[in-house]
């Protein structure tokens, strides 16, 4: 038996043992239905974190207030603590000094969690992006993962509303950030 054959045999044995291991840890009962149910609940009880970064926050407040009323889709419960929130609405310009606190807040939010980048600034720096600028982060996705982008400067309240509905669809489809 040549060395090569020996190697192939070892590899085969390894993959076989992987399969065996997989069979051992695979759940006998699949919890997909329960997970789907949970996702439906999550999609209509999003608790955003209470904070605004700049002018887009004014539109975010309008969405939360009586005329547009986020409570209609269960997303009006703005939480004062990152520990209780599950969606981060980045409403406004992210300055470089603010980047660190935002990252800290994101890390403090328990999974599953989602984020919405609201307005041009959080998409790619918007009007403040030019060669040699020193003050801002050019896009929220430079610091945290983003689920839905809302274009506009600022976006109309309806646009943020649509974004939250879109995020709901995404959650119902089982798409979620599984990181820390």
């Amino acid at each position: 038996m040549s060395n090569n054959d020996e190697l192939v045999q070892i590899q085969d044995a390894e993959s076989n043992s992987d399969d065996a291991l997989l069979r051992q840890v695979e759940p006998l009962i699949h919890l997909n239905s329960l997970e789907n149910l949970l996702n439906h609940a999550r999609a209509r009880s999003l608790w955003p974190l209470t904070f605004g970064l700049a002018c887009c926050a004014i539109e975010m407040m309008a969405v939360g207030a009586a005329r547009f009323d986020l409570d209609r889709i269960g997303a009006g419960v703005f939480r004062p603590s990152a520990r209780q929130a599950d969606v981060m609405i980045l409403a406004g310009t992210i300055s470089r000094k603010m980047a660190e606190p935002i990252k800290t807040l994101w890390d403090q939010m328990p999974s599953p969690k989602w984020s919405i980048a609201m307005g041009g600034c959080t998409i790619d720096g918007g009007p403040f992006k030019y060669p040699g600028q020193y003050a801002i982060v050019e896009g929220a996705d430079k610091i945290i993962p983003v689920d839905v982008y809302v274009p506009g400067c600022p976006p109309r309240p309806e646009a943020l509303y649509a974004a939250l509905l879109k995020l709901g669809e995404k959650i119902k489809a089982g798409d979620q950030f599984k990181g820390a």
């Binding site: 470089r96 000094k97 980047a99 720096g125 600028q133």
Partner: protein, 157 residues
Amino acid sequence: MSVIAEKLKTHAGIEESTSADYATQGYHYLHRAQAAQLPAIATLFSAADFHLEMLTCVDLRESEQTFRLVYQFNCYGTPERHLIHVAVQPEAKGASISAVFAGANWYEREVFDMHGVAFDGHPDMKRILMDDDYIGHPLRKDFVDQDPQREEMASAE
């Protein structure tokens, strides 16, 4: 000429004092002063019930080899705007007036952050707008962003 303007004209820290036409210049008096004398001058303004309108810095290293600190004092009632120009050598420091006008505290930190001109006697001389560990002073004419985080924070240009 007002009382404070008379006092300033004879003040030891003032090198030159001129009056100007407010309608065209936007200020009533322009004084050139020595950096170290600013706390004494600010005390004069404070005693006369003036307030600090603005404190900023201009990078004049190319034309005059100095930074220029610009102080602007005014008072309520009859307006009387005093502009004070202070030349500061590139490595030298200004003198803090935050003990006299508390509002100067953040202005001086801003000047330090953006132009790199520090102030003697300031209670908390650190950056205000940029990160504490940021490298460079963005409003200097020869500024090039050399911050290590720049690549992460900016899109490819």
